[in-house]
Symmetry: C2
Subunit: 375 residues, 2 copies
């Protein structure tokens, strides 16, 4: 099956749409939550479970995969799907995000005034060619260029791939931001050119940059939509709070074609989803649901439950009586509370299953509401 995006229904109430992304490994029903499986696995779960939960698209990180086990090994295994035993769609990023965020600190930690993670600062040099960083695994120097990132993503063989971009720090003056954006565009163009020489049945999404500057967001959208990309991902900082984010997304998406899929990079909490789906965003990757689960926080239709709280100790019902997930079908809040208190690894798996199932059901519900023009 070739890559294709089909819009099934456009809401009469907003720019929300229900669609289907066709990929060589099956269909993604949009809007869709994309689970993050950095190293080729969702943490604390295995890929057969992930498939049974109904996660239609999984996000793997090229940065991690090129360092361990290496993209050539994955190619030798027959590609990422075969290597990790997942028969359904996979997307990989370029590796750029990790290289730059390890150096500058993530936008989130910068906003929280945590500064850069000094210990992991492995970025050695940025030139027009690419970014040189030191492997956190064995200390060797690695040069990531647009071409090497795409080649790695070709070896890995995900259904959707992403061009190399530069991730500017949140606080950067306009001149520097403009220079960074221009370089990102040159890198994305080089990535696309390399990709088009050998599509290998993969789709490529551009990454729209420009930070919190509307002129630059517009410039980025105009430049990238003129190139032969299959979809558009919104990257970089989109603001320091949800209101700024909505404003920037609304503005940016107006400059994107209506008939191609839009992805929001790294954001997938419920509040952000609720605000950005009506703007016309289709897919969202986030490690939030699984990370929250490992910290004992499970998602519910109300405000969620912190499993370690005393009030759950004697609650012999599931997280949610109406939930059909494996965890709710088999285990009580009391038992989950106990497993977290006893620091059992089993707790992390069971909470992760619930949260991913919650996201799948949440998105099903969203699609239903869009079909009924309620969103």
């Amino acid at each position: 099956m070739k890559f294709k995006f089909e819009i099934i229904h456009k809401s009469k109430k907003s720019n929300a749409r229900v669609g289907k992304i066709y990929t060589p490994h099956g269909i993604i029903n949009t809007p869709s939550f994309v689970a993050v499986g950095t190293n080729g696995t969702i943490k604390a779960l295995d890929n057969k479970i992930i498939s049974s939960i109904g996660i239609e698209l999984m996000f793997c990180n090229t940065y991690h995969l090129i360092l361990q086990p290496g993209s050539k090994l994955i190619q030798k295994a027959g590609g990422i799907h075969k290597f990790i035993n997942r028969s359904t769609p996979i997307i990989t990023d370029s590796g750029g995000f990790q290289v730059f965020s390890l150096a500058f600190g993530s936008v989130a930690s910068e906003l929280k005034s945590k500064g850069a993670k000094k210990t992991n600062c492995t970025l050695l040099k940025i030139t027009e060619d690419g970014a040189t960083f030191r492997s956190y695994r064995d200390g060797t120097k690695v040069l990531l260029t647009p071409e090497s990132s795409i080649q790695a993503q070709k070896d890995i063989g995900a259904d959707i791939i992403i061009p190399l971009d530069e991730l500017p720090p949140y606080h950067m003056d306009l001149k520097a931001l403009e220079r960074s954006l221009d370089r990102t565009h040159r890198w994305e163009k080089r990535s696309l050119d390399y990709h088009l020489k050998n599509r290998q049945n993969q789709a490529m999404y551009a990454v729209i940059h420009g930070g919190i500057n509307k002129n630059l967001r517009e410039k980025s959208s105009k430049y990238l939509t003129n190139l032969d990309f299959d979809g558009f991902a919104i990257g970089g900082s989109v603001g320091k709070n949800i209101l700024e984010m909505i404003e920037m997304l609304k503005f940016t998406i107006n400059h994107l074609p209506k008939d191609k899929p839009n992805h929001l990079l790294g954001i997938g909490d419920i509040a952000s989803l609720q605000e950005s789906i009506p703007l016309g965003l289709d897919t969202f990757d986030s490690s939030y649901p699984t990370k929250a689960a490992r910290h004992g926080f499970v998602l519910t239709k109300s405000k969620g439950i912190k499993l370690t709280k005393k009030e759950n100790e004697k609650s012999f019902s599931p997280i949610d009586k109406n939930c059909t997930c494996y965890t709710c079908q088999n285990y009580t809040l009391s038992y989950l509370h106990h497993l977290f208190k006893a620091k059992e690894l089993t707790a992390l798996s069971l909470a992760s299953i619930h949260n991913l199932h919650f996201m799948v059901e949440y998105m099903k519900d969203i699609r239903e509401k869009i079909l009924n023009d309620e969103i």
Copy 2:
């Protein structure tokens, strides 16, 4: 179903036997490997998976359960089976082993000259009444007596329970060992008396002590087999190597009734199983297969595989081509190698599934061989 032990076949070649232990929660086919789920879960797996693997008896630790979540909470939940969602048989120990081994260090670490684990030395006092220790969880003092241990085990509600015993250090002079044995016998008698007042459809196995002294092992066997126990567990130190162990087990088992089940406490590695099954031992609990799995060591019919070894990196076949376990059916050595290298929790679960499945199949094969008088 009431507790009953039925011998299906006695080998013509040895004292090995194939049997069935009937319990209120189903049948245990013996010889059987008993998986250790200290806190009411096998580490890194959940109880539905454990059942699907075919683990017929699970061993939970009363010491841990009384400290977290507490035996009364388990009773309130409807008993351990309901609390942890396991419908098949469970055995609990008395808590004595942990209290004493935390104080004196385990026999294994003593033999390896590691000395006692000083940091965890929580045993405060031993009197005729029982043992007082400090909770590692909240620092409170806890008095464990034969009666309180059995009451906790009644609240927990396992199918098979164990009387409180004193675990003497490996190096103890004869006089002290004799005194310890006499106290253990008084404690076991008190445990049994308390149990018989309210059997609650549970069976109780005595624990034969006497360390590495044959006279004392004989004395212990004679004393305990005269009481109304449903089975016999061999506890304490049985020697500092496998030859000493076989010698002591052979000697001890001669003094045990032929028609009751024999359990070997805390030993379940393949070499020990091979030597002790022909002596007439029926069940074996050990955390070895799951602990080894979490350290990346998987069991095979030959010498096992250390998954992190370089030689597995490019091996795109399962751990064992003929293995029918979930892990071997779905994942390759190369992927498992990668998951361990990437420090993914998923690795621990997948390796544990394989090792437990291996033990179940190993025991099936042993039973078949006994039925054919090959063992």
